[in-house]
Amino acid sequence: MTFAFRDFRSVGWSAAVAALVAGTMVSAAQAQAKDVIKFGAPLPLTGALSPEALKAKQGFEIWMEMVNKAGGIKVGDRKMKVEIAFVDYQSNTPKAVQAAEGLITQEKVDFLFSPHGSGAAKAASNVSEKYKVPTVAATASSTQVFDQKPRYLFGTYTPNETLLAPLFPIAKRDLPSLKKVAIYTRNDLFPLALSQAVEQTAKKNGLDIVFNEKYAITALDHSSALSQLKAAAPDWIFVFGYTNDNLMIRKQMIDQRLEAPLITMLTGPSYPEFVEAAGVAGSENITGASWWDAAVRYTSEDVFGSTEGYIKAFKDKFGIVPDYGHASYTVAAVALQLAIEKAGTTDREKVRDALASLDAKTFFGPIKFNEIGQANSYDPPIFQLRDGKTVVLYPEATKQGDLRLGVK
């Protein structure tokens, strides 16, 4: 019975089924010999978050391919190829923590990416802090993730508060009668953080919050809450949750003939899948925001050269236009790459310092981290869905149209 833990891996590798796979793993490890930089990415390939994982994987792959095609990452005077170890953490946060530790100690990765979302990134950051491994979080936007001032964690999303605040002056200008606001939020870390941010901004702007409720993560039906929301006759409705919640709620809004001058949903409308599932009519004039949109235009010092360069490379490889889900993961990798190049070494401590003082132009926007490690260097785009396409309303530099009122 002592077999199990004296050398755990030898048990695994002796298993007949595993032998072949394990063999390739070993030879890959031997061939490594330090001309390769290895990154670790725990992804929720199965389970509730798996749609995100596919995007994340593509986002990483396009970067890896482009970098390796260009000869690798420039470290001092030589070029080092890139390798990413992917692990499925089954959309289960404890497993994400385990995966992070496994990547560091077993796969011997040099640098790490956080698992998806704020909660898992927070949990896994305890591991990367412990091992002092620079880690970039692609999708952690809640300031709570960074509030204990992690030393090795950097997030490429700007804080949640920055996401919707710029829409308020636009809305007030175009809808002078704007007064009543309703907020309907999934009881979960990221949506709750959005909801709190909007609640504060609304109050600051002198608006009344006439409806503010949370729904359970497993809710199937929203009809009762929406009937109440309708009775409150708000001018502006905010719905926070993930794509499935947004779809379900949008459908039930239409069923109940719930209309308002302004309806803002997050995060659904940022994804093409939302429009596809909700339909062009069902998504018309809905406003949303995300940290990136294919409509933004930046020139960059990264491997893509510009936002257009990124979109083209992505389209060539995967045949679709990337959405912010893909781009968020690509930019996390880009930020690490630029920091390594700036440090001129793969020494973790030096790369960590290079990240902390990074000020780089990327296809995603300028990336610079504040004192707690969260990016604060770009304006996340606000957009409106029209004819199934996103029309950017803000920032001015990439604006494609004016706000239209009326969502049916």
Partner: protein, 288 residues
């Protein structure tokens, strides 16, 4: 007026719940098997409806017939060759078996359909009916009518047909049924097949109302549990009453306490019923 609206919401939602739970209740009541695959069968039915609509334009209520036949066969085979082998064992084994099978189905669905949420949009959209300020979505109304018809059909089959009477006989007294020459393993397989067919048919109707994705199955399964206990095991009219009760409790609960408490309320009700009236509204004491 909002009171009437919420009443209507609750009744319509309740009949969807009845439709989710009827097959689950039958299997639990007759076979004493808690079928953890039930939610996945519903989702598979929804994918079938989506596929048939997108490929040949078949409306979901017609896909229902296809789903019923196809999934009766699948359910029959699963019971005949897998679950029947552990049916006499302690309840734990059959439960674990369906758990393992569900893991396989879930993973396969993820592989085939991908994890994205899809939805079945009819063109033109069905919209909703308005009675004064009270609105009723037409898709839910259709699902409600078919759900009630389906459960009625199940009820008639169980009461009137030879096979149905054999199923009821097995449920009431297995020993006596065997003495009367009922082929028990075969009846089990038929009952499980009917349960599976009910799940998949429900799925074709729900495709109109809810987004479709592999992970959606757990929410359906959770509702089936609650409805089944409220209504009473194995009782078809019980499933309808249990569904309606749950629908009303959830909608009025969300109204009175806030939507975040709707789920809590339904599980609280479940425990209360188990303690106070475990036989459900209409059922009899089931297996121990």
């Amino acid at each position: 007026m909002i009171f009437v609206q919420i009443l209507v919401n609750g009744l319509v939602l309740g009949s969807l719940y009845a439709c989710i739970a009827a097959g689950f209740s039958l299997v639990w009541g007759v076979l004493n098997v808690i079928n953890l695959m039930h939610g996945s069968f519903i989702v598979l039915g929804a994918y079938l409806a989506l596929g048939l609509y997108l490929s040949i334009g078949l409306a979901p209520w017609w896909s229902l017939a296809v789903a019923a036949v196809l999934f009766f066969g699948i359910g029959y085979l699963i019971q005949r060759f897998l679950i029947n082998r552990v049916i006499a064992a302690p309840v734990l084994l059959s439960l674990t078996l369906t758990f393992g099978l569900d893991l396989i189905i879930q993973n396969a669905m993820l592989y085939v359909f991908k994890a994205d949420y899809r939805s079945l949009k009819l063109d033109p959209a069905l919209g909703s009916l308005a009675f004064g300020s009270v609105v009723v979505p037409v898709d839910r109304l259709i699902a409600m009518i078919f759900a009630l018809l389906l459960t009625l059909a199940l009820y008639i089959v169980l009461r009137k047909s030879r096979v149905g009477r054999a199923i009821v006989a097995v449920r009431v007294d297995q020993g006596a049924a065997r003495l009367l020459g009922v082929n028990i393993p075969s009846i089990y397989a038929i009952a499980f097949g009917i349960g599976t067919a009910m799940a998949a048919s429900a799925g074709t109707l729900l495709a109109l109302t809810f987004p479709i994705a592999p992970v959606a199955s757990y929410a359906f399964l959770g509702k089936a549990f609650v409805v089944c206990v409220l209504g009473g095991l194995g009782s078809v009219p019980g499933a309808v009453l249990g569904g309606l009760l749950l629908g009303l409790v959830e909608t009025f609960g969300a109204y009175a306490l806030g939507p975040e408490f709707a789920v809590m309320l339904s599980f609280g009700l479940l425990i209360l019923f188990l303690v106070v009236r475990p036989q459900g509204i209409l059922g009899r004491w089931g297996f121990e």
